[in-house]
Symmetry: C2
Subunit: 280 residues, 2 copies
């Protein structure tokens, strides 16, 4: 999927919403547990309910791996069920030595037909480059995450002036990550995870990566504010994919869960439509 394909979807749907499919067998409505594949049935209902209001889906691998081989089957069926014009992200946060990252790329881009995979940068270039080998596929590198632990390492000040490599003197780790990754990929195959918990950081990161899409978690359940995210982060091709998981998929745990998910997604889509008019 190209950057223009994604932007076209955003214009058609008037939405830059990603629905996170963090499907937990212990949280889905009881009546689904009687079906052959409750995880897939739940996802199918959620997708049917939200597909008009979002442009992307993001299953988190942890939730499927916790179910063993049958969890991976539910995941494969889910990815297959999502219409082709939506962007499908494997939230996997992988990263390993070159030949092993190549196997992960194979798992997500060949075996399953994801459009993108999230990658942790700690192991450096050869852990990321194999994912770029697939035309039309995307790497989404963790830059600044939205969790409490993001302050442990991502905000460390990096010593030395970085003018040999960059044109900035003082940098934190997440900024170095962005600056280096930009030299390995392009705005057409590389995005960054940028948490929404401190929206001013989004404008700081936008200066480093003007054209790249940001995948923004943390709106809703983790306290981020959608208006601020748009104000600080939007570029002329939107440049934002904002994820919401629990506040949509678990909007209700009763028989009305799909309607509740539809309403939660629709509400976000409407807010996004007006933000797109203001900023894009």
């Amino acid at each position: 999927m190209t950057r223009d394909d994604i932007f076209n979807q955003i214009k058609i749907k008037e939405s830059f919403l990603c629905v996170g499919l963090d499907t937990d067998i212990h949280k889905i409505p009881a009546h689904l547990l009687k079906t052959d594949d409750p995880i897939f049935e739940f996802n199918k209902c959620i997708i049917d309910a939200t597909v008009d209001y979002c442009i992307a889906y993001k299953p988190n691998l942890a939730f499927y791996e916790a179910m063993g081989p049958s969890g991976l089957e539910s995941l494969e069926k889910t990815v297959e069920y999502i219409p082709d014009d939506l962007f499908v992200i494997a939230d996997a946060k992988r990263g390993d030595i070159g030949n092993t990252s190549a196997m992960y790329a194979k798992a997500f881009f060949e075996r399953m037909e994801f459009d993108a995979v999230t990658v942790s940068p700690y192991m450096g270039h050869d852990s990321i480059l194999p994912f770029f080998e697939y035309n039309g596929k995307w790497v989404i590198v963790l830059a600044l995450t939205s969790n409490a632990g993001s302050s442990d390492f991502q905000h460390l000040d990096i010593a030395g002036d970085h003018e040999d490599f960059f044109d900035i003197e003082e940098m934190e780790l997440f900024e170095i990550v962005i600056k280096k990754c930009i030299t390995w990929g392009t705005p057409d195959n590389l995005m960054f995870v940028v948490g929404a918990t401190k929206p001013t950081y989004i404008s700081q990161i936008r200066k480093l990566a003007k054209e790249h899409f940001f995948l923004v978690p943390g709106v809703g359940e983790q306290g981020g504010d959608l208006k601020e995210v748009a104000a600080y982060g939007m570029n002329d091709k939107c440049g934002l994919i904002v994820n919401s998981s629990r506040s949509i998929i678990y909007a209700s745990n009763g028989n009305d869960f799909a309607v509740a998910a539809l309403n939660a997604a629709k509400k976000l889509q409407e807010e996004m439509a007006s933000l797109l008019q203001v900023h894009a």
Copy 2:
């Protein structure tokens, strides 16, 4: 498994060898492809051949995920097949926000009965702490890896004096990772990945983490030297688990692959036996 259990195995086997089960369907002997589960059959033969010469096995998840649900089945059967007194590591390099890392912990420690999982530190404490919730299980944090990309971020100099938190002034990122992680776990549930490509770093890291076990990749196929690793890294409970993958499991790709693996593992075990006599 306790630290003493691991050390006892090391003394009994006179070995601190871990065999990496990076099993690739395209690299295993042709005659196994006719069996129902070639990946498991290969692993079973490798385990039977090497079990007397090693104390740990380390399947890398990427190789199993690339095969889809059946790959996970092969993995589960493999973990089940390994005798209980050996240490079994899920080389997964996971790490996500707290509730998601908890799902990964569930996948590796409840669903499958791994003794340890490798974790990437980029997302900080709440991405690592959930793995410590399991008694007798281990977290192995990536500190200094053995790949080319390790220099991109792990060796960055961190600015400021770190005396408020540590007692050292100048530190690189991998040292901060070690110093912080040591405050989250103990030598009885926390190990570090320490690459063998530059053994002098191992002695530098040993000063920071005197009692912790190090999982050392990069001996053999990636150019590390076993004698130097032992000289720089061994402590009074050995403190080292040295991994070898390809040079053992792909020692031959013919019908004699198991014998070749046995010989490769035995050769390393004999070298390790004499190093244990010198240093431990």
